[in-house]
Amino acid sequence: MTAALTLIPREMTEERFDWVAALSAGGREQDEATRRLHELLMRAAHFEVNRRRGSLDSATDVDQLAADAAHDALMAITAKLHTYRGDSRFTTWAYKFALLEAATKVRRRAWRGREVSLDPDAWTRLPGLDAGPASSAEQSELMHALGHAIDQALTPHQRLVLVSVTLEGVPIDVLAERLSSSRGAVYKTLHDARRKLRQRLAEQGFDVDSGRKEAAV
């Protein structure tokens, strides 16, 4: 990866280099800019895959995973080039596409073959909502109220998303893939579920950020 850095001409790493113009110029200039951008994306993709390597089994071809991520990032950047507004360096803007693609591919690969329960009532069988023996009375009361709110206030789809993400640790983009949805849509469901739970607990007198129940007046 360090070697790839030495291939990038210095002027292309500087803020004043006009990547958008070069990537839109046509001909050899565009080809060269595209090639250089791909090198940067490969570097970012390898960086991300290596950070998350521990979640992958040894049979995974990490170089291929990074190459696929860099390719998909290049396609996304090409399609969205006109949306770059110069709020950050172009390289920072481009890196985020490679990191997103690589992180998503790693998560999906790590969860490939693992079962994700799509039963909205699975939460009733999970130990996470059982207040343990060392639990305070306040905490027990909050956990009980939370379980009741999940059961009463949420739709089955909201229960499924909430429990998968927050109790079972299913990555949002893995869940989105299993539900044929998008990360944004799944997170919106999670956000709405959390708002409902907060509201329900607040109505019962809980200060949801401290976990304490306010004294009745």
């Binding site: 950070r51 949002i172 956000h191 976990g211």
Partner: protein, 76 residues
């Protein structure tokens, strides 16, 4: 997972937050402000709460910070 972790995860951040699409749109700007020692939360209101509530976006935020800090190319 402790009970505190369970309730925090289920109830999420308390403040207003942006969604995943907006998070991706502003991530580069937010991280550059952060790495430069500026005030990223003023630059992008609602981002910090989203990063607290969304594990996937939080991971990608951490990666972009780490990449910029490791890279002579991306350093502001």
């Amino acid at each position: 997972m402790s009970e505190h972790d369970v309730t925090r995860g289920m109830l999420g951040p308390s403040g207003p937050e942006i969604g995943c699409d907006a998070c991706f749109e502003y991530l580069d700007r937010y991280v550059e402000a952060e790495v430069a020692g500026g005030d990223p939360d003023t630059a992008v209101p609602g981002m910090a709460a989203h990063l607290e509530g969304c594990p996937a976006c939080s991971e990608e935020h951490d990666s972009l910070v780490a990449l910029l800090r490791s890279s002579p190319i991306g350093s502001p």
